[in-house]
Each structure stands twice: as structure tokens, then as C-alpha cells.
């Protein structure tokens, strides 16, 4: 084998490794890597009470109940719902119908005890008047499903 051939061989080997690396990563992505779970995932997995995890979804319309410092609301992914309790100050962006990520644990009664609630805002930016005009003309579409 001449040096030129050997170099070509090395380059091909390197390309092969890179190709295989890409293939592996793509397979992994297809295996769905998720970080926070939807209420459906949680129902399906029967998560234990000792594990901290994150739940993401939308705050269900009309579900927010405030009792002093304690807030109760329901997170939905439009198929399954999960009741959440949280004690603390909510972010200003926390609204019904908006995306939310809660971190905490499940309790024995099937309620999610959040120790932290983060609002997830969408990529829409517009003045109030415009959204109202859109709503009146019926072209306004509420956020559907979770992000």
C-alpha cells in the first residue's frame, strides 16, 4: 500500500466514522428524546412518588383556584389532565390557556406537587388591539397542543 493509498484509506475511514455517528444520533432522535413529560406520559408510566420530574402542558381554562399562597390548577395536553398544587409566587405570564412547565413530585393521590412553576410563552408578539381585532374577526387561533 502506497502512502497516497493509505491516506485515502484513513480519510475514508474517518468519513465512515462520521457517517456512522450521524446515523446513530439520528436513530436516537427518532427514539424520541424528551425532557419534560406530558400528563399522558405520566398517566401511562405510573411514576412513583419519590421521583422529581417536570410536567409540561397548557393550563386548563377555568381551572386556576387560588387559596392564599396555594394555587391549584390543571395541566392538560388536550387528551389527559393532571391536577397540580403549587405554593409560591406565580410568574406574571402564568395564564389560563398558556403553556406551563411545573417541576415537582407526584403525591399518592394523583396530584402533582409542584415546587417550581415556569411559564412557557409562545413566539407571538403583538399589541393588545391587534389580538382583539383578530379575535373579533375570528382569525385568532388559540395555542393548540403543547409546544
Amino acid at each position: 500500500m502506497t502512502r497516497k493509498q493509505r491516506r485515502l484509506y484513513f480519510v475514508l475511514l474517518g468519513m465512515l466514522a462520521l457517517g456512522a455517528a450521524t446515523a446513530l444520533v439520528l436513530t436516537a432522535i427518532n427514539d424520541t428524546l424528551v425532557y419534560f413529560y406530558s400528563p399522558t406520559d405520566i398517566k401511562a408510566k405510573h411514576v412513583g412518588t419519590d421521583r422529581r420530574l417536570r410536567v409540561g402542558g397548557l393550563v386548563e381554562q377555568g381551572s386556576v383556584v387560588k387559596q392564599g399562597e396555594i394555587v391549584r390548577f390543571v395541566v392538560t395536553d388536550l387528551t389527559t389532565t393532571l391536577p397540580v398544587t403549587f405554593k409560591g409566587v406565580l410568574p406574571d405570564l402564568f395564564r389560563e390557556g398558556q403553556g406551563v412547565v411545573a417541576e415537582g413530585k407526584m403525591d399518592g393521590a394523583g396530584t402533582f406537587q409542584a415546587s417550581e412553576v415556569l411559564a412557557k410563552h409562545d413566539e407571538k408578539y403583538m399589541p393588545k388591539e391587534v389580538t382583539e381585532a383578530l379575535k373579533q374577526s375570528g382569525r385568532w387561533q388559540e395555542e393548540e397542543g403543547k409546544k
Binding site: R7, F10, L13, G14, M15, A17, L18, A20, A21, T22, A23, L24, V25, T27, A28, I29, D31, T32, L33, K45, D50, R51, R52
Partner: protein, 221 residues
């Protein structure tokens, strides 16, 4: 290929006769991990939950500890010039040195990790995944580290600089290493994370020696 084995044998022999490096790395690993229960309190739940993270972060720091020696000794005594003048690809020699480095530092870490996992009360389901992630992850650390080690040759305060350069690049390995173990402990599939770790190793295998060899040539100019 004989040259590759020649340089691996020589570096292993050097490590064996000089001794200290492997033992120091493992000692650092063990000592630092043992510090965590003191810092976090002996609460079993907390230790169990954080064990994957603690082990991986500490292993990462430990493998970085010996990194600045990777090329420095050869650089200082003129061996590196002669290595660069060997009638073969410098990239191949870099691979040889990285292999030797991994055998003397990465492998002992992998052996020590399960023992420490027991001390940290890690769920038994995670042990196999822990070893597997470290088998896939620590060679990647050595490979990426080789780039950093080659870059800081001749720099002022090279050792500190090295950690600044290399640690940000270690983040992906850390994320997927810990992610895989956490998933395994929770009885979730960890295949995806392991695939990504393998992918990163495969990508680093050609790219890192190439970049490190380029850096070495710069250092010798």
C-alpha cells in the same frame, strides 16, 4: 500500525515506571466523590438521586487532571519534534497517545465508578448503564482533551487555561452520560442516550486527532 502500537507501548511503559498518574487520578476521583455526602448530608434519597451527576462530573474533572501532561513532557524534552518528524501521519501518533492516556486514566475510573456508586446508594439498575456510559464517554473526553492539551503547549498557566478550553466542550458528554443513567434508574429506556454517546465517540475519533495534530504542528512552529 506498528508505529501506533510502538507509541502506545512506550507511553504505557512510561506511565508504569513513573507510576503516580493513574493512582493520583483515581485517588482524586474517590476522594472528591466521598466529599459529596459530607457536603450534601447523608440523606440517602438525595445522594441516590444525584449519584449519576456526581460520578460523571467528578470523573470528568479527574480525567482532565492528567490531561496537561499528555503532550507537555514530550514537548519539553524535544520528543514531540521527533514525533512530528516520524514518517507517518501525526494524527496516528496522537491516537496512540490518547489510547495510552485513556488506558492509564479512563479505565481505572471505570473500574472505580461502580464501587463509588454503591457508596452513593445508586439504584442497582443503573450500574450496568453507568459502566457503559463511561466506556463510551471517557474515550471521548480523552479525545477532546487532546485538542486542548495540544493547544496550550507553550502557553502561560497552561493547566488552568486547559480547563477553561475543555470543560465547555465536555458538556454534551456529561448531559448524555447522566441522562442515560437517570433513565436507566427510572426504568425508562436509555438506548437513545447511549446511541448519542456512541455517536459522539465515533465523531471525535477522526476529528479530534486531526485537530490535535494541527495544534501540535502549530506548537512546534
Amino acid at each position: 500500525m506498528t508505529r501506533l502500537s510502538e507509541i502506545i507501548r512506550r507511553d504505557l511503559r512510561l506511565a508504569l515506571r513513573q507510576g503516580s498518574d493513574s493512582i493520583m487520578v483515581v485517588t482524586f476521583f474517590v476522594l472528591t466523590v466521598v466529599l459529596f455526602p459530607f457536603g450534601l448530608g447523608p440523606e440517602t434519597n438525595l445522594l441516590e438521586r444525584t449519584s449519576a451527576g456526581i460520578l460523571w462530573v467528578t470523573a470528568l474533572l479527574a480525567s482532565m487532571l492528567s490531561l496537561d501532561r499528555l503532550f507537555l513532557a514530550d514537548y519539553e524534552d524535544g520528543s514531540l519534534e521527533l514525533l512530528a518528524l516520524t514518517p507517518t501521519a501525526l494524527e496516528l501518533l496522537v491516537i496512540g497517545k490518547v489510547v495510552a492516556h485513556w488506558l492509564t486514566t479512563g479505565l481505572p475510573l471505570i473500574v472505580a465508578a461502580p464501587v463509588l456508586a454503591v457508596l452513593l446508594q445508586m439504584n442497582g439498575d443503573g450500574f450496568a448503564t453507568l459502566v457503559l456510559t463511561m466506556l463510551l464517554g471517557t474515550p471521548t473526553l480523552s479525545l477532546i482533551g487532546a485538542i486542548g492539551a495540544a493547544l496550550v503547549l507553550g502557553a502561560r498557566r497552561g493547566g488552568v487555561l486547559l480547563s477553561l478550553l475543555v470543560l465547555p466542550l465536555y458538556v454534551p458528554v456529561l448531559i448524555f452520560g447522566v441522562g442515560a443513567i437517570d433513565a436507566a434508574v427510572q426504568d425508562l429506556p436509555s438506548k437513545a442516550q447511549l446511541l448519542v454517546l456512541g455517536g459522539m465517540l465515533l465523531a471525535a475519533l477522526p476529528l479530534a486527532p486531526w485537530a490535535a495534530a494541527a495544534a501540535l504542528r502549530q506548537a512546534l512552529e
